[in-house]
């Protein structure tokens, strides 16, 4: 009876109604009726027979598997197409592109798959398949069971197909979808709002390092952990992660997880680290793990930029005449630094002394610079001072074979020179560069090309910035304090409005504006000129001001001369959120790429097309706000008192500077006046894929009633609009706001000093985090003002709205 039933079931279970015994190539034998005797209640295979055994140990049912589509596996007919197992993964793969070509030597760019049976493999798209030993597998090859590795050499979509390799199986190949992506940064910092994370390189003790796995939604391994480890240039498969400074920390798949919340402060600058996500938690780097660090460190710990560098320093005086007298600082012995060292020249201001800058000279020398601080002939004026800068540079280079027994001969690079000047000396170094680059002066031992950087500390502006005090194309840095009692920056005198110099620069520029620092805080010994000022703003004093100066100058020099590009972050990121260790001050920083280069697309710099409805790039500018003014950034009078008829009150970017004077836009909005200003993007900037950031400069208007009422950091919304009208908005406050003007009195009624422009830089990645935005067709940049977008009210000056491409700042 049982036998009759089984045979009946056997015939009934033919899925397509065909009897497999009809196939002349396949012979299906009847199942062995005794097999169930030892397996009561189980499911068994006997050839193509899939059997169910009764509890009594007899065949309860039999299914004959179709050999063209199935095989019997564990007592059931299953597809005969090869099975594939993805360790720690789901039914599809996301792999990171290995631009050098997938290799078993870089297993972190590969995903392993386990093949339990022979298969014929084919790949499509950018996918590359490697065998167990790492050898590439040719398309259409038959591979044996084992572990295979999936990689890709370019981004895109593709597949791996595993077809049956033998027998009569005619099942469709098993298809594994593969998405190849450019390796995203894993080490990120969380933000308080959209886009929720940022991926800058440098972290300080104020930050928590997080790992971002949102791009890897295919991962399912619950055993994944993250490590932060010292950077290695020679990562290899099987490397242990036992030197981790953080981790193992269990990570949330597809999410952002905090990994390192005690980033050290007291370490040398820019300590490099890598980040590893170890799937399977075996404590080693294997195929299928994620590594951020193979192409350079995943992150840097910013470290203490005020601490002395690694080299011991010697200083000594060198003099070949009254006006060629200087203090020289160098790493001792100079051979501790490989290669010739850049030369930094410091030119003091009027009433100052060349011996007053040890804090900079020794600091720079300890990081591998040769520094001279020379006597500067400032009393006649900045043109005479400029001559002294040139003469001392020339004299020092000429003296190298003999000076100090020739110890520095061959250790100073005459083609990498920085000029730093203070006050009249700060104007002097710019004039000196101008006179050399224009050919008016021809020094014997260097040329304009050898001056790689010029920096001014609170410079005077006696001469005309449109003609003589111009940095031209040389990278230019400006540092000044809001409590300066001498070169005040105020709007009452043209010669103290130093931002005018910045405006004439056509090369890369950077600014460090230090709230509460006075003029002589930047040397050791000048009079406390903050005593000549008034107002409730904090006076930070010399020690804190010099910590800021040491930090920002070191960042500038290291970025310019030693290739430490991450140091630019100290200028491009808003200091409210990101500052050097130990600099707990209110600062405004700026960083601008060179004019006219291919690495930025200017949307509106307001220098041409004075019609507020047309941008300098020729696009339309529309606004729903009534208080919009475009014009020269020049305070109309010598007072800072609020004047409703002067939207540029407190602006010191220009002063009687003629046709080329710096221009900008002023936007005002009151409580409940939410509105926008929209700039059409020129055709060259509409595809933002591959661009790095949207950048603009903004400052709060001093003593304006809205500024007074806001009384704090200001922000607004910045949005990209695509051709379909989709708007993706970011409140730039998540990166840092625009500081309120420093609380200083004088120059009329009210409190607040001059404009403090801050560069606002929103990464393009912030906008493309919105998948609804079409980044290939961005038609407008929209600035949105009001409580729905940031500060409920305010008045801001705006300038230099640009799209920035990746690339080095300079040098």
């Amino acid at each position: 009876m049982a036998r009759t039933l089984a045979l009946a079931l056997l015939l009934a279970c033919h899925r397509d109604g065909r009897d497999p015994t009809d196939d002349p190539t396949t012979t299906v034998l009847p199942p062995d009726p005794t097999l169930c005797a030892d397996h009561p209640g189980e499911q068994l295979c006997d050839g193509l027979n899939a059997m169910t055994c009764s509890d009594e140990g007899v065949i309860a049912s039999v299914e004959v598997c179709d050999p063209k589509a199935t095989v019997c596996l564990a007592g059931a007919c299953e597809s005969c197409a090869p099975e594939v197992t993805i360790p720690g993964g789901a039914s599809e793969l996301i792999v990171e592109v290995d631009a050098a070509g997938p290799s078993i030597d870089r297993p972190w760019r590969l995903r392993p798959v386990v093949l339990p049976q022979p298969a014929i493999v084919e790949v499509t798209g950018p996918v590359v398949l490697l065998g167990e030993g790492g050898a590439p597998i040719a398309d259409g090859a038959t591979v044996d069971p084992g572990t295979l590795y999936v990689g890709a050499a370019a981004p895109g979509e593709g597949t791996v197909r595993f077809g049956p390799a033998e027998g009569a199986c005619e099942a469709s190949p098993r298809e594994l979808p593969v998405t190849a992506i450019a390796p995203p940064p894993l080490a990120v910092r969380s933000l308080d709002g959209f886009p929720w994370v940022e991926a800058y390189d440098v972290f300080t003790s104020r930050d928590t390092v997080s790992v971002d796995l949102t791009a890897f939604v295919d991962r399912t391994d619950p055993q994944a952990v993250a490590y932060v480890v010292p950077h290695r240039d020679d990562w290899a498969a099987g490397d242990a992660l036992d030197d981790a400074v953080a981790g193992p920390v269990p990570v949330s798949l597809g999410e952002v997880t905090d990994v390192w919340d005690d980033v050290p402060a007291d370490v040398p600058p820019l300590q490099p680290y890598d980040l590893v996500v170890d799937f399977g938690d075996d404590g080693t780097l294997d195929a299928g793990d994620l590594l951020d660090g193979a192409e350079g460190p995943a992150l840097y710990v910013g470290g203490d930029l005020t601490a002395p560098g690694p080299y011991p320093v010697t200083q000594d005086e060198l003099s070949s005449g009254y006006w060629t007298t200087m203090v020289v600082y160098w790493p001792d012995p100079p051979t501790v630094v490989s290669g010739a060292m850049p030369l930094v020249v410091i030119s003091h201001g009027n009433g100052h002394d060349y011996t007053w800058y040890d804090y900079l000279g020794r600091h720079f020398a300890s990081y591998g610079f040769v520094v001279i601080s020379h006597r500067n002939d400032t009393q006649p004026g900045p043109i005479t001072a400029s001559a002294t800068t040139r003469q001392n540079t020339d004299a020092f280079l000429a003296a190298l074979p003999q000076a100090f027994g020739g110890i520095l001969d061959g250790h100073v690079d005459p083609h990498r020179i920085a000029w730093i000047g203070h006050s009249r000396g700060g104007e002097g170094v710019v004039i000196a560069y101008n006179d050399v680059v224009t050919g008016a002066e021809r020094p014997a031992n260097f040329t304009a090309d050898d001056i790689v950087l010029v920096s001014s500390i609170a410079p005077t502006v006696f001469e005309d910035p449109m003609t003589r005090v111009s940095p031209h194309e040389v990278p230019y840095h400006l540092i000044a304090g809001s409590r300066d009692g001498d070169v005040t920056g105020g709007v009452d005198l043209d010669l103290v409005q130093y931002f005018r110099i910045l405006q004439t620069a056509t090369g890369p520029t950077a600014v460090t504006y230090v709230e509460g620092a006075d003029h002589n805080d930047f040397n050791c010994c000048g009079v406390n000129d903050a005593n000549f000022t008034s107002g409730p703003g904090p006076i930070i004093g010399r020690e804190r001001a010099q910590q800021a100066a040491k930090s920002y100058f070191l960042a500038l020099l290291e970025a310019t001369f030693h290739g430490q590009a991450p140091m630019w972050e100290y200028f491009e990121r808003a200091p409210e959120r990101f500052r050097p260790e130990g600099v707990d001050l209110v600062l405004a920083t700026q960083l601008e790429r060179a004019d006219g280069g291919a690495d930025k697309i200017v949307i509106d710099d307001f220098q041409s097309n004075p019609d507020a409805a047309v941008s300098s790039s020729g696009g339309a500018v529309t606004s729903t706000l009534p208080g919009l003014a475009e014009g020269v950034m020049d305070d109309r009078n010598t007072q800072l008192t609020h004047d409703p008829s002067d939207p540029f009150n407190g602006m010191s970017q220009a002063h009687n500077d003629g046709a080329g004077a710096a221009r900008g836009l002023v936007v005002q909005w009151g409580e409940g006046d939410d509105g926008l200003v929209e700039f059409e993007v020129p055709p060259a900037g509409r595809d933002v894929r591959g661009l790095e950031a949207l950048s603009l400069r903004a400052a709060q208007s001093t003593r304006h009633p809205n500024t007074v009422a806001l009384d704090g950091m200001l922000s607004f919304g910045i949005a990209l609009v695509d051709g379909a009208g989709h708007v993706t908005e970011v409140d730039h406050r998540v990166y840092g706001g625009i500081p309120k003007p420093y609380a200083r009195t004088g120059l009329g009624s009210g409190t607040g000093w001059v404009n403090e422009f801050q560069t606002i830089r929103v990464p393009i990645a912030a906008f493309t985090a919105d998948p609804a935005l079409d980044p290939s067709d961005v038609v407008a940049v929209r600035l949105l003002f009001g409580s729905a977008h940031g500060s409920p009210l305010g008045q801001v000056g705006l300038d230099d709205l640009e799209l920035v491409a990746p690339g080095e700042m300079c040098c």
Partner: protein, 173 residues
């Protein structure tokens, strides 16, 4: 009491510059006089120590009235904003008995034309003869200097002795 009150209420008057010390010098190596729109070499000069209104004594960055000795702005080695001691020099042979010391125009010296300086000096009273004699007597014999560095050393010795301003002593050290 009333007199004291009247004195307190009286408008403050700038202190007239006084000379307390003067020493001629010569230079073995010519230097360039740069406190003028027309720089020129010089090999001799007069080093002086003055007492002036402290408000005038300080060296600042911006535009400020210059101290003149005769038809030249004084090149200053210090700026005693506390006590008003100023040590500086002018080039050339100087007839101190005929040279007024005064606070002149705020023109940057490197922009100063010779006629502007002369005009500024014209008509101003010379220093009291007694003061001049005493200053020269205090200064003693002319200094034979190799170059301005020697003059500066002499000057800083004066500064160290006379100045009440801390940063002057930083310079002198």
């Amino acid at each position: 009491m009333l007199l004291t009150l009247l004195l307190l209420l009286a408008p403050a008057r700038a202190q007239a510059p006084e000379i307390v010390w003067a020493r001629p010098f010569t230079l073995a190596q010519p230097e360039t006089w740069t406190m003028t729109a027309s720089p020129r070499p010089f090999t001799e000069g007069l080093l002086v120590e003055l007492r002036v209104d402290p408000a005038v004594a300080e060296l600042r960055e911006g535009r400020a009235p210059a101290l003149f000795l005769g038809g030249e702005p004084l090149f200053r080695f210090n700026g005693d904003r506390v006590g008003g001691c100023v040590v500086g020099f002018v080039p050339g042979p100087v007839d101190l008995a005929a040279a007024p010391v005064f606070v002149g125009p705020a023109t940057l010296p490197e922009r100063l034309q010779a006629d502007e300086a002369d005009n500024a000096a014209r008509g101003r009273p010379a220093l009291p003869v007694g003061d001049v004699k005493a200053a020269l007597a205090a200064g003693g014999a002319p200094l034979r200097a190799a170059d301005l560095r020697d003059v500066q050393r002499e000057a800083m010795a004066r500064v160290a002795a006379c100045s009440a301003t801390p940063e002057d002593h930083q310079r002198a050290d």
